[in-house]
Structures are given as C-alpha cells and as structure tokens.
Amino acid sequence: MKIPYEKLTFDIVVLGGGAAGSLAAIRAKKLGANVAFVTKESALVGGATIMAGGGTSLTQSPGDNGDVFFKDIMKSGQQINDKGLVHMVADNCMKAFYDLENCDLLLDRDNLKHQGSASMHTVKQGEGHAYPRAYLDRREALGFCHGLAKTIERLQIPRFTETIAVKILKDKDGKLCGLICYSVIEGKYLIIECKALVMATGGLGALYEETTNSTVLSGTGFALAFDAGTELKDMEMVQFMPLCFPYPKIRRGKIIGMCSLLGPSVKLYNGLGERYMHKYDPERKEFTTRDIGARGNYTEIKEGRGNPDGTITVDNRGFDPAILNRWKTANPFRYRQCVQTYGKKAGNWEEPFEAIPAQHFFMGGIKINTKMETGIPGLFAVGECTAGVHGANRLSGVAFAEIFSLGPIAGQSAFDYFKDAEAPKFDDKAAEAAVKAVEKPLERHVANGCRPYEIKQMIQHVVSMNLGPVRVGPEIESAIKELENIRDNIIPKMYVSDGDPRYSRERLDALEVPLMVETALMVAKSAAMRTESRGSHYRTDYPDKDPAWLRNVVISRGKDGGMELRTEAVAGEVQA
C-alpha cells in the first residue's frame, strides 16, 4: 500500500466539530481525560453550527417553563419524539445556555448586570412556540463558535482537522476500541485507539442537490454508526426550508429563510402569477410552518407551475422599512448575498425575487438514551446525528437548545465510562487490515470507470428527485433500486485518478461515496416503511396521519450485515 498510516492513542475521541462535539470535548477534557478532536473541515468550529442563524429557543419569558416547552416540542414532533430526551432539553436549556459564558464567550445582551431575559436580545413569538423564546445574536452563530473554538485551543485539546473518519473499530467483546480516519491535509491514514468515542457528526444535507448545509455534511456518520452496529431511528424525517437561493450554482439551496422573517407583507407567486399558499394552509397561508411552506413551494415547482427556471417568486414590495432594517442587522450575510444575487432593488425588496425550497435539517439518526449511549459500550452520540429530540419536525431554535443542553452530557457520559472501563483489546493487525480494505478501492484502475464526484452527484440526484418534501411509494421504491444499483454496480467501477494524496479532493470524495449511499438507503427504506404522512414526511399516496403510526421506524444491522427495519413504540417515559 502506498498511502502511509500512523497509530495514535487517546482516552476519548470526539468526532465532529460542531457545537455538540465541541461541548462534549470541553467537558471530557475538563474532567481530566486525554481527549482528541476530529473534524472534517478546517474551521475551528464548523458543521451546520457555524452556518446557523444562531436563534436559540429558551424558556426565558415570564410564565414559560420546561413543561410548556416540552409540550411544544412534542406537538411539533407529532408525538414521536423521545420524551426523556425532550425533557432534558426543555428543562435544562436555560442553565446550559448560561453555562456557555464559561467558554470564552460573552452572550449578546444589553447589560452585563442582569442575567436573563431582561438583557437578552429576544424576539416575539416564533411559529409553534407558546411563549417568546428566541434568543438572537447579532453575530448569528459566530459568537458561539468563537467561544467554543478558543476554549478548545486554550485547553490544548489536539485537533485533527480536515480528517474524515472512515471506520469505527470494536474489539472481540464488541466494545468500542478505536477508529480509522484519513487525514486529507497529510494524505495519510490515522489509526486511533481509544476507550470511548463521541459521535457528533451532524446532519446529511449534502445527500441532496439543494441544501442549506455545508458540503462536509454528507451524512457519512450515520453509515459509520450503522456499520459499527448501532440502531438508527426516524431516518425518513428530513426537514426542508421554504425559501433558498436558486443560483449561482455554489449558492443553490443556501438559506434565505421563512416568510415570517420577511414580515407580514410577503406574498408567494407561482409561474402563472397566482398566489398558492392557501391551497396548502388556508388559514396561515405564507406564514405556515416550515414543512408545509416547503411542501407548497416544492409542489408548485414539481407540478410545472413554477417559473421557467424552476423557482417560485417572492414579492415583498409592501414591506415595512423597520422589518427590512431588522433583516439587515440580524442577517447581514443573507442580506449581502441577496443583493449580490438579485441586484440592489430586489435585494432591498423593491422588486420580487426568485427562490426554491431546500433540505435544511435532519430529525432522524443514531438511537440514543438519556445518557447519550448508543448501546455499544464506549460509543456515544449527540447533536443532529442523533434521533429523538425533534420527532417528525423540528421547532425553530431547538437545534441549538438541544446541542447546548446535551453536548456536555455526552462528554460527561464518555468520561464516566472511560474512567472505569478496562482497556479494550485493540487488535493492531485487524486495524491494519481495515485500513487496507478502505484503501483498496482507491488504488483500483478501471477502464471506463466512474470518477467519485460523478457517483456523488448520482446519489444526490436520486435522493433529491425521490426523497424530497413530497414523496410517493413508487418513487421511494425506485430510489431504493437506484441506490442499490449505485452501490452494487457503479461504486465497484469507481476509480481515483489523482495520484498525489496531498489534499486530494478526489480521495475525499471516494471515501465519502460508499458511506453516503448507505445513509441514503436508510432514508429511502425508512420512508418506504412509514405508510402515512406525519410532520416532514409527506406521502401523496398516504396523505393523512394514521394514529396506528404513533411509532418510530428503527433500523438495525442484521446478521448478514444488511438493514433490518422494524417499528417500535415511542420511547421514553415522562420523567416525574
């Protein structure tokens, strides 16, 4: 084998550099473990976290409390959330949020003296929230990222950036014992031995052609976890954002937002010049929930009623200047990009502009309990890569409430496990063999083969066409067939033509592709199984919610390594 590898040993490894992973790493390090931090991008804190608007839902208004918040999250999730996890988020979000100020961070407030809502920048009622809950930050999410990043640097936690995990390792007894990563910058494999691993690998936006997520969020973590033997839940539950940029190419699918952000004057038109949102939500029209908003826009475009370039039109000409001002200060980058994309007039809402819906968030993922345990000794998971908190649909600002509340708990649990755990029986030979197995396809030379990026695009196309905001049985089935075809017939023909392993995008793509197709298959198979519509999962062949489906779809790894699907009663008793 030409590509070198290096062996390293740590107590605990945290995989994924969003806020969930950062908080887990900080907690475990502060408790005294030798922690390493592995992330796919170069940014100090990255993932969806750095891209986010930073809105955080908190129980900060008078009269609000954990029980009311709990009910709202459950309602939005259509009651298939894990009640135990929802309680942890609803009850602990305030404390976890203020704890962030122990991480090199000053929250955005009017006054240093009063901690609490009186001095925080808050907004009015968000859709689905019984009380005003959103903390807004003038730095969007950059303030959080800044604080967490500096804390990690100052705690001297070793950071393996631009390093992708490609395999999780277990020992003979089925305990976690390490992982295999590929360092893109160095062009070499890392075999890391560790007692505990916290997965915080985020969502799967980059499985779609149009997504608000960054390119690194291709859903590889779900496939890694499945391969390691964890169970995955609610994999059919994908959330879409109603208004996103249609062009330029690199910006396609990137976030503009929801109608409510643009103020009460906004109207949506299809290519025939008709307003249409009343067909999808007669009462709230444009100001409906995310899932219905995205579904409306998607349906108009898919059924041929969009503009010629496959978009819908946003007309906000009657806007209130105060709201435009708020938009500019609260979302400076989105405003700047609107002006660049649509021109000065449309960017300032004096003319209509075009938009499309795009994938935004993933509610499903690795099944965990309230200690963030996955069922495999030593393997923990937290953040967007897990299922349970959001059920069938996420409420605004609850992703941040979730990662702030649960991230440190994952670090705590990993530490508690590590300090009493016996050393796993790490098998160097097996690890080397695993590296060879991962590397083998990358050394293949095939005549008339496929480049990795081409296969990536094929997967994205199949997923976008068939697993979007509006689904139907035959399309889901065809997605499964096409993805299996890619896995069985096309990936074997994949080859890497870039001979230089240093910062090779082609090698990175080639390592992601086999994992992406597995994750996509899990989404498709779960979508096929849920024969009803609930939250973000909407099927035209089963348009109604079915009370018999107050259950979760769970995927586990069968004896032959294949995917076994079953349904399960909703998890978690309400804690007293």
Binding site: L105, T215, K249, Q337
Partner: protein
C-alpha cells in the same frame, strides 16, 4: 460568458506554475464554481478548500487578481489569476491553516476558572458595561479566513514572537470580555515590538462588522504608551483604511 483562468498549481517542495483554462460559464458564477468546474472537467488533482458556500467558514479565502477574497462570494471576471494566500502552502490554492492556528495557540493562556464571572460584572458602571458588550460583539464576528494574516508585512510564520493580526485580534477579544484576562505586560511588549499599526491587515477583511478595524483602534488608544507610540508610527491610519473599503 467566456473566461480565461490562470490558476496556481504547486506544493512547497516543487516549483509552482500557472495553468490556463479557457471556458464558457454562466455569468452568475462565483469563483468557487469555476474551481469546481476545473476539478470536475479538467484537473482531478486540483486542490481547493471550501465548506459552507455562504461566507461563514472562512475556508475558501484566496487571491484573485491579487485581491484577497472569499471564492464563494467573489463574482467571476473575464480574466482571472487565482493563487493561494501568502501563507505556508499545502498545495495549489490550499494554505496551511493549522500551522497558523498552532502558532497563535502559543500565546493564548489556559482558561482560568471563571465561575464568579457575574460578580465582576456587578461592579461595572453602565457605560463600561455597554461598551464592553458592543466591542465584544464586534470583535467576535471574525470567521478566521486568514486574509488579514496573509496581508501583514510584519507576520512571519517562522517567527514565534508575533502571532500576526489574527493573534492580535484574539488577544483583544479576551481583553474586551470582562470575564477574560486583560492584555498582559508580555502581550503589550510583544505588540509594541511587532505591529506598526499600518492597517494593511484590516483592508480586505470580509467580515461585515470589520472586527480588526476595532481591534487596531482599541490598541491605538491603549493606555500602554509603548504600544500607542509604536502604532501611530504606522504609515496608514486605520481611519484611512476604513474609508478606502
């Protein structure tokens, strides 16, 4: 739109060269779209770095016709020369960001225990409190694109003393956060010996609130005489730079 692109190819241990591509692309394309196109259609070995696509992660900074900018936000021009920022190189347009961070890390103190953080706030008067918050917010809108670091005439990646404008910004961020530690004697000596306050670093900062402008402004008015005197020596004032952008 027909475009001619000259793009840098090279590694630290090889003599770099420019490769030219002529192509026809939609006029709405960004520079990052062009890089993707080259990787897909012409050169599978092209190295370029990006993540977010929305000017947030700071990873895609490079020089386009000698102007440092974010490739994901920079519109194309008929003729473009693309090269990496003037920082240690990994390959093609990709610089060694890790090395720069590691360098800065050296000057950051270990985090102290700040559980009594709110007590220190209690003693602060209204004006100071307000100013500290506003300064902190603006200073922490940096997304570490490293453009400033690449523009500073006094920064040398092999000189362990001065951590460059990004390091200077990190120190100022701590100084303004009342729960963190203020600039130490050592920091001040180091800044006085290194930064001339020329403002070149701040000129092309893509962050909306221009954090580095504020950091330099604050340092120029710092009570430590040595720093102030030295920084005023700088040729351009931050004010002028502010107006030129």
């Amino acid at each position: 739109m027909k475009v001619k692109v000259n793009i840098y190819k090279g590694t630290p241990d090889s003599k770099g060269k420019y490769v030219t591509y002529n192509m026809d692309v939609p006029p709405t394309d960004m520079v990052l779209d062009i890089l993707e196109k080259i990787y897909h259609e012409y050169d599978p070995s092209l190295s370029y770095r990006y993540a977010c696509g929305i000017a947030r992660c700071g990873e895609c900074a490079m020089l386009i016709n000698d102007v440092p900018c974010l490739a994901c936000e920079r519109q194309i021009e008929p003729e473009m020369t693309i090269r990496p920022l003037d920082l240690p190189l990994i390959k093609d347009t990709v610089i060694n960001r890790r090395q720069v961070f590691d360098h800065i890390k050296e000057i950051l103190p270990e985090p102290g225990d700040i559980d009594d953080i709110y007590d220190s706030f209690e003693e602060m008067d209204e004006d100071t409190s307000h100013r500290k918050i506003e300064n902190s917010i603006r200073l922490t809108t940096c997304f570490e694109c490293m453009i400033c670091q690449s523009m500073c005439p006094r920064y040398r990646s092999d000189d362990q003393g001065f951590p460059g404008p990004l390091g200077l910004l990190f120190l100022t961020q701590m100084n303004e956060n009342p729960a963190q530690r203020p600039l130490s004697e050592k920091d001040l000596d180091m800044l006085a010996a290194s930064c001339v306050g020329c403002g070149k670093c701040a000129r092309f900062c893509p962050a909306e609130k221009k954090p580095l402008h504020l950091a330099l402004e604050l340092l120029k008015h710092h009570p430590a005489k040595a720093v102030t005197a030295h920084m005023v020596d700088g040729k351009t004032t931050v004010q002028e730079v502010d107006e030129s952008v």
